[in-house]
């Protein structure tokens, strides 16, 4: 793996959009292939073993979640960054829980996207302000009712620092700005975000699932 020029696979069913992303990524990354459906994405991942897969959440034959689930165990080193126009929280949370290491909206600017790809390639998590908002919302509904038997404070709760970091992301801060604001190193910010991602993927709090569906109704 070459961390400064990650090998990227584009998966999106819109040819126009893939062309746009390819143009914006420019020379900063090496685009090793494009796929427009789940089957060809799975095949290309097997052949190219890219560092990062830029993955559309919605595709006619199953979308990002299906791709991740198909290749997660044979190729554990391939990392996924979800890219979507959808704001529906259940879609976002579903693809993150399937194993994506980040989520950005399709309106993201070119340099920001390159930055996000690099970050995912080096094993960090990428949270857009909106995803940070979703996560805060999901974990904010603290168990004021009877605590469940399965409640695990290690997984089902955000630490104070993680909470602060997420709030700053939601306010539009970059990792560097967060580090300055909280007087910690950028690496520490990254490890906090990764830890939130881990909680998001592993927590069995059923509030998390319920929240995602309920939020639509608000």
């Amino acid at each position: 793996m070459s961390p400064d020029r990650p090998r990227v696979l584009l998966v999106d069913d819109h040819q126009l959009f893939r062309a746009g992303v390819r143009g914006e990524l420019g020379d900063a990354v090496l685009v090793v292939g494009e796929a427009d459906n789940v089957a060809s994405a799975v095949r290309l991942i097997g052949r190219e073993e890219p560092d990062v897969v830029l993955l559309d959440v919605h595709m006619p034959d199953g979308g990002g979640q299906a791709v991740i689930e198909a290749v997660r165990s044979p190729y554990p080193d391939v990392r996924f960054l979800a890219l979507s126009v959808s704001d529906a929280p259940e879609d976002v949370i579903a693809v993150i829980r399937a194993g994506a290491r980040g989520y950005v909206t399709k309106t993201i600017s070119g340099p920001e996207l390159v930055d996000a790809v690099r970050r995912v390639a080096s094993g960090d998590a990428v949270f857009s302000p909106r995803l940070a908002g979703f996560v805060l919302d999901a974990f904010a509904t603290l168990p004021d009712a009877a605590p469940q038997a399965s409640f695990d404070p290690e997984l089902d709760q955000l630490s104070r620092r993680e909470h602060e970091v997420l709030r700053l992301i939601a306010r539009g801060y970059t990792y560097k700005e967060i580090a300055r604001e909280l007087s910690i190193s950028t690496k520490t910010v990254e490890s906090h975000v990764s830890s939130v991602l881990r909680k998001l993927q592993l927590s069995t709090r059923h509030q998390l699932a319920r929240w995602a569906t309920e939020r639509r109704l608000i």
Partner: protein, 397 residues
């Protein structure tokens, strides 16, 4: 009265429609032939202002006709049964009832949308076909009651009646006939039923598609046309695209009414924040990214918070020069906070002339008057962040 046939006939014959109606009503119990006649007229006389009569369309409705033919054995069986049992009255009425039911069926299938909706309404008011929460339960109870009563009556008649061989023989014949017919026509009936179901589904799908097409046409295509015309003005193109995106999103994900996203006054903090974003984007052509966490109803204090937040967002859009403004709102149990941030020019808060009423009055003053707090952090080249906090009244339980 139902199909407007009486008045049409009356108009043709130049007599009072009342006369025609009375004649029709009298004819019903006499031979029952009046009802099918009515249906026939309904089929044949075109609706005022429409070209083809329903019959014209019905002859093309092969499936409808097939269903009628498929059901005709029922008529034959009841005819045979009633004559075997010596029930004259049923024999006379049978054909009439069958023909009118068939006629009504064809009419319904081939009537235009207005007439069909109207027929549905009539049927609804008598049969309560449309399930509504409270009504359907009552209707169900009524149906069960009626069913049980009929069942009991039938058993009673069967057990009390004189069971003589002479009466049983034709009955057995009828049963055999029914079985034979079911064997002969059964598969065909099943297929027709299935066809009907798919036809119904196709109709629902077509309606959905029409709705979608209308939506896409009204907004998306219009906007695309506008964008093509304004292709040389990138800022306006971006603004148009963004406004359209917002509208489509509110329709797709939030079930918002198309055309007028959030035209009414917002009632919650999050909808208020979204409205601010919408209006500032439209007025200043700057993207406003809204992130909200939690939500609650608006009260006077929170309205003041939103008003101050709007002022801060407008300032950021107008003066910072940044292409995007972040708006973050968090509702917590004890307070609501709002952050407006841009990565633009920034300024030195200490150097702002005291006569700049914008910041002093509409943000700080407004927050202070309502018991809240405003903090502005900015320095040249570093962008600006306005933090607004409003405590929430303690909820008494």
């Amino acid at each position: 009265m139902v199909g407007g046939v009486a008045s049409a006939v009356a108009e043709r014959l130049r007599v009072d429609p009342g006369v025609v109606r009375v004649l029709l009503v009298i004819s019903v119990p006499l031979s029952g032939i009046g009802v099918p006649l009515y249906m026939l007229a309904w089929l044949l006389i075109p609706l005022e202002g429409s070209e083809r009569s329903i019959a014209g369309r019905a002859t093309g409705d092969l499936r409808g006709i097939a269903i009628l033919i498929a059901l005709s054995p029922v008529l034959v069986v009841t005819l045979i049964a009633s004559s075997a049992l010596g029930n004259r009255y049923v024999t006379t009425l049978d054909t009439a009832v069958f023909l009118s039911a068939g006629g009504l069926f064809l009419i319904y299938r081939n009537a235009d949308e207005d007439e069909r909706a109207w027929l549905r309404n009539i049927a609804d008011s008598y049969l309560h076909l449309t399930p509504s929460a409270s009504r359907s339960r009552k209707a169900l109870a009524l149906r069960i009651l009626a069913g049980v009563a009929l069942l009991a009556a039938g058993m009673l008649i069967l057990t009390l009646g004189h069971i003589s061989g002479a009466a049983l023989e034709p009955l057995a014949g009828v049963v055999l006939l029914l079985v034979a017919l079911a064997l002969l026509f059964g598969p065909w009936w099943l297929r027709l039923g299935r066809d009907l179901m798919t036809e119904r589904q196709a109709r629902v799908r077509a309606e959905e598609r029409a709705d979608m097409a209308a939506r896409v046409h009204d907004s998306v295509l219009q906007t695309l046309a506008l964008i093509q015309r304004k292709a040389d003005d990138p800022q306006q193109v971006a603004q148009l695209a963004r406004a359209q995106e917002r509208e489509l999103r509110s329709w797709l994900f939030e079930g918002g009414e198309p055309g007028s996203p959030g035209a009414s006054d917002p009632t919650t903090v999050s909808s208020g924040a979204k409205q601010i974003a919408r209006e500032v984007e439209d007025a200043h052509g700057v993207a406003v990214e809204v992130v909200t966490v939690g939500d609650c109803q608006l009260d006077d204090e929170l309205r003041a918070l939103l008003a101050a937040g709007r002022e801060a967002t407008v300032n950021a859009a107008k003066w910072s020069g940044a292409p995007t403004v972040s708006l973050f709102v968090e509702v917590e149990p004890s307070s609501v906070s709002m952050f407006v941030r841009d990565r633009g020019a920034g300024f030195d808060p200490a150097a702002v002339a005291p006569d700049r009423r914008g910041v002093a009055e509409s943000i700080r003053g407004r927050m202070a008057r309502h018991g809240g707090k405003a903090t502005i952090r900015s320095s040249p080249g570093q962008g600006t962040e306005v933090e607004l906090t409003m405590p929430r009244p303690v909820v008494r339980t």
